[in-house]
């Protein structure tokens, strides 16, 4: 059916073109022989082809353009004719003898154009006559094309200011009047198009109408091109008349297109000065009109205008552009209760962009916008609509982008309220955007109040939403989020310890609400920034001896450590014992630096408890024990007794590890606990040797076990490692470590390696080789070291 229709249309078009060409051929012949009568006859016949109703606007346009070209030639002929002495007035009458109206009016417009050029009558009279006579075409398509022809031939003949057609009787207001009238009539025809024809083809018709819209819009363009349309005339005549037509036509398509046209065609300066009038029209539009787009366009243009030059900004203030736009949006939303949420938010988003551009200094305006938005969204609950949430994100991102500074956004009291309308995932996205903005700009957040409000904003990331936690969340995404929160925590900083402590307390308060999944991510940064504060306090107390930290109760390291202790406890409660242990050790070390023995001891105790009670995985135990040993080795605050207890425990733990090689390594690591280089009171050579010997025993046992289980003795790696430890302590001057012992160990290794059951292990070979090279090297060094090594035979 449809295909047939288009095929037929092609046929009709072809027939129309053929008829047109034939008649234009005869017309040309008449023109060549200066036969006016025949020229009129054939041109009328040619134009009769345009009387067809069988073509869609698209095809009709094709036909029209061909006729248009021919009419240009006819117009030239008419001009020559008047030069030859034919009276233009007679000609003007003559063409009106044509019996069919459409050809008659095309001819009339053509002659009319010559008539105006001849200046035998005032341009305005001719124009008025033409635009009146065109009323005879009530068929929308034909009427639109005819009037567009009129507009085309007349646009260079309007009595504009400075135009040759301007005269005493012809003023620019006549030109404006003419164009306005033509515009009004065209719009009426255009609007009427939708009501004609069967309703089942309505969709097709709307499409066709859309194709024709530029014919109507062209008039507005012509208006904007008239020099004489200054601001005053625009304000007093043009805009009210155009708007009247737009509002009264009550047609969705037309209203949308024409409002957009007005905005695009006329200068921004005019819009600014006529904002009242322009905005007043919006609430009167049909409720189905997509006002948000049009209004957004307007605000965008005004924003760009404001951005174009600083000189125009006072104008904006003068006309109170912001409050007018703000009011208008309110009214539009009121007038269109069915407007989708996305539309509402888009409007506010545009307004916000506008105010950010035009009044960057007026934060209260931005806040007002957000506030109004909140008011309008309230009662709607979380917004599910994708488009709407997208718009809200845009709305919220705008201030961040503009100010590059979250601090400004934090001042917007309504900002978090708007965020509340977002659904959980989007809220998180927005929070991430905020954090990224902070990171990008390296903004330091320096007061606890700001931290408080910032957490309010990003609470989607900080804790689970009111409902059940979102299980479907992708693990990687979650990590990404929480890592960004962790990064954010690093950005909180204040030089003033007191304030910094407040910040820490605030952060702590918030992150503790985060639940077991989040704490492992958020606690460490908090711990480290607290420890940073501790060190800072420590530094201060050292420089100001007379003011020991004990006085200022609120910010003493002790107090901070208490806080940390509690925090770590929460962490151990959430199945992250390894992390808790690591943090305990960190704290212990910090306490060590602050010379707070009891605190450090307490942390260590906790670490041990964690080790004993929570860490059961053998691999984790290995890691933990090495951490403990490492940390403990660096501790210097402990008294002998405490230290003994702790080292004893550590050695004990080491020997109880599951795998022999692990045991061995842990035990020889323990040897360091008894030999701290910088502290002479912590050098116990005997116990060092004890540890090493024990390690050797374990290594031996390991080898035997391997032999029994697999039939091969396994690697000698452990022995080489122990040898290295021997060499270390030998070099450090531990009297218990003797050349003989080293010599014995080397031989043992050699034997093992040559035994039949040994498994070849290239890395062990290499390790041994380098160890040997080291001994050689030390020997050749000479001096005391050389002497010391001398007795060792390799």
């Amino acid at each position: 059916m449809m295909i047939d229709g288009t095929e037929d249309e092609e046929k009709f078009l072809a027939a129309g073109i053929a008829g047109l060409q034939q008649n234009s051929f005869y017309m040309h012949r008449a023109l060549d022989s200066n036969n006016l009568r025949d020229a009129l006859k054939y041109s009328a016949q040619m134009l009769s082809e345009l009387r067809t109703s069988k073509l869609s606007p698209h095809k009709y346009y094709e036909l029209y353009m061909r006729a248009f070209d021919q009419l240009r030639k006819l117009e030239m002929f008419f001009e020559e004719e008047t030069r030859r002495g034919c009276s233009i007035i007679d000609l003007y009458e003559l063409v009106q003898h044509a019996g069919n109206i459409l050809p008659r009016l095309y001819l009339l417009c053509t002659v009319g154009s010559v008539y105006i050029k001849s200046k035998e009558a005032p341009a305005k009279d001719v124009l008025k006559d033409l635009v009146e006579m065109c009323r005879g075409i009530q068929n929308p398509v034909r009427g639109l094309f005819l009037r567009s022809y009129l507009s085309q031939v007349s646009k260079d003949k309007l009595p504009d200011i400075g135009s040759e057609y301007e005269g005493d009787a012809d003023t620019v207001s006549d030109a404006v009047e003419f164009v306005l009238q033509n515009f009004t009539e065209m719009n009426k025809l255009w609007v009427r198009m939708q009501h004609q024809g069967p309703s089942r083809e309505k969709e097709k018709r709307e499409k066709e109408r859309n194709e024709l819209r530029d014919l109507v819009g062209k008039n507005l363009h012509v208006l904007s091109q008239i020099e004489g349309v200054d601001l005053e005339m625009y304000k007093d005549v043009v805009l009210p008349r155009v708007l009247e037509q737009v509002v009264n036509c009550k047609d969705e398509l037309a209203q949308f297109y024409l409002m957009d046209c007005i905005i695009q065609v006329f200068p921004d300066e005019y819009h600014l000065q006529t904002l009242d009038v322009l905005l007043g029209a919006y609430p009167q539009l049909q409720s189905s009109v997509d006002i948000k787009t049009v209004l957004s366009q307007l605000m965008e243009r005004l924003s760009n205008y404001a951005a174009s030059s600083a000189e125009v900004l006072p104008e904006f203030l003068q006309v109170e552009a912001f409050s007018k736009l703000s009011n208008a949006i309110g009214k539009v939303i009121e007038a269109q209760p069915d407007m989708p949420t996305a539309g509402v938010v888009t409007l506010y988003s545009s307004l916000l962009t506008f105010t950010l551009h035009v009044h960057p200094d007026r934060l209260d305006y931005a806040d007002q916008v957000l506030g109004a938005c909140v008011k309008n969204l309230s009662g709607k609950g979380k917004i599910e609509d994708k488009k709407a949430t997208k718009q809200i994100v845009a709305l919220l991102s705008a201030p961040l982008e503009k100010y590059n500074d979250i601090m400004t956004a934090l001042k917007l009291s309504n900002y978090p309220h708007v965020m509340e309308f977002l659904d959980v995932p989007t809220n998180k996205v927005m929070a991430t955007v905020i954090i990224q903005s902070i990171m990008k700009n390296g903004t330091r957040i320096s007061t606890s109040d700001k931290v408080e409000s910032l957490f309010e904003l990003i609470k989607g990331l900080i804790k689970d939403s009111d409902g059940t936690p979102d299980d479907e969340l992708d693990e990687d995404d979650f990590k990404e989020e929480q890592n960004s929160v962790a990064r954010l925590i690093q950005m909180f900083y204040n030089d003033d310890p007191e304030e910094m402590l407040k910040i820490i307390e605030t952060v702590r308060k918030h992150i503790l609400t985060g639940g077991p999944k989040r704490l492992p991510f958020t606690v460490p940064p908090l711990m480290f920034s607290s420890l940073k504060l501790v060190r800072q306090l420590q530094g201060q107390s050292q420089s100001q001896e007379e003011n020991p930290f004990g006085d200022d109760a609120s910010t003493s390291p002790k107090k901070i450590f208490q806080l940390l202790n509690q925090t770590i406890e929460t962490l151990s409660g959430v199945l992250a014992p390894e992390l808790a242990l690591q943090l305990c050790l960190q704290c212990a070390e910090a306490a060590n630096d602050c010379e707070l023995e009891p605190v450090a001891y307490e942390f260590f105790t906790q670490a041990y408890i964690l080790y004993e009670e929570e860490i059961s995985d053998s691999r984790a135990q290995v890691t933990a024990i090495h951490l403990i040993i490492g940390t403990l080795q660096r501790m210097h605050v402990f008294g002998v007794e405490n230290r003994d207890t702790l080292t004893h425990k550590a050695t004990g733990y080491s020997a109880k590890l599951l795998k022999k090689p692990d045991q061995c390594r842990a035990v020889y690591a323990c040897s360091h606990l008894f030999w701290v280089d910088d502290h002479d009171n912590m050098k116990d050579g005997e116990r060092v040797l004890l540890c090493l010997k024990r390690a050797l025993r374990i290594a031996n046992a390991a080898q035997q076990m391997a032999n029994a289980a697999r039939g091969s003795t396994g690697s000698v790696m452990l022995f080489i490692e122990i040898l290295n430890k021997y060499l270390y302590f030998f070099e450090k001057g531990n009297p218990q470590v003797t050349v003989a012992a080293i010599q014995g160990l080397i031989e043992l290794i050699m034997n093992e390696m040559q035994s039949d059951t040994a498994t070849p292990d290239p890395s062990a070979d290499a390790f041994l080789a380098t160890t040997m090279r080291y001994i050689q090297f030390q020997k050749q060094k000479g001096g005391t070291v050389g002497e010391k090594y001398e007795p060792i035979k390799v």
Binding site: H97, L102, E132, M133, G136, I137, Q138, G143, K188
Partner: protein, 301 residues
Amino acid sequence: MNIIAGAFKPPCKISISLTHPTTRKQVRVKKENDQTVMVPLFQSQENIVGEVSIEPARGKKVEHNGVKIELLGQIELYFDRGSFYDFTSLVRELEVPGNLYERKTYPFEFSTVEMPHESYNGINVRLRYVLKVTISRNFVNNIVEHMDFVVHNYIPAPSINNSIKMEVGIEDCLHIEFEYSKSKYHLKDVVIGKIYFLLVRIKLKNMELEIRRRESTGSGTNTYVETETLAKFELMDGVPVRGESIPVRLFLNPYELTPTYHNINNKFSVKYFLNLVFVDEEDRRYFKQQEIIVYRLLEDS
């Protein structure tokens, strides 16, 4: 053949000529055989002056009972063929009975002739003016020669010329108000007006203005009425909506109108009407007819 033809050839040649034929306006008139000839144009109260020359065929004498010239105004009704009504008949004797031997010229003059009616060539009726020269003869047919001329009578513009304004309609379908600026138009006038649509419920396709001529001849039961549409002038293309007003501007010049003739000699009348026709999408026609008076304007110059 030649001899026989010669026998029936008129024994003399008569020609009628008017003085100042070059300055007199001539009008084109269509003859029965569709050929057009130019004939002189007169108006009432003019003097019709000229001369008649009679030239007997060589070597023949014409014996006659007198020569006269008549000016006749005749109404000819086609349906009773051959019956002429002379409403004007003037005679001038040119020659007493006698013989004519050679060419002779007779001047004649009809002064301030009353010619109240205009020449008219209609469908069923013809009104014509003719100069007729008759040479009366005994026993044989009279020798007769005609010369047609045309009479147009001009009148000044009427002092009262009301507009035609009317609201018409079909209930609940179509209500319009139309207005023509005048009720009386001269032949080169323009009909100016507008059609205002008050209610449109039918799907109109277009609107035309027709000029119709109604010629009625005879009287009583023998009245014949012929209506001709002289002009079809499209006023509007498409469907108007309520409140739309469509301009009318129709130049009468291109159409061959005559003035309105009212009961000419009780024989015939010619009336003109403006017929406003609406055509709907199913080609049904709705119309409203209004009589207009057409007159021949006496131009001031």
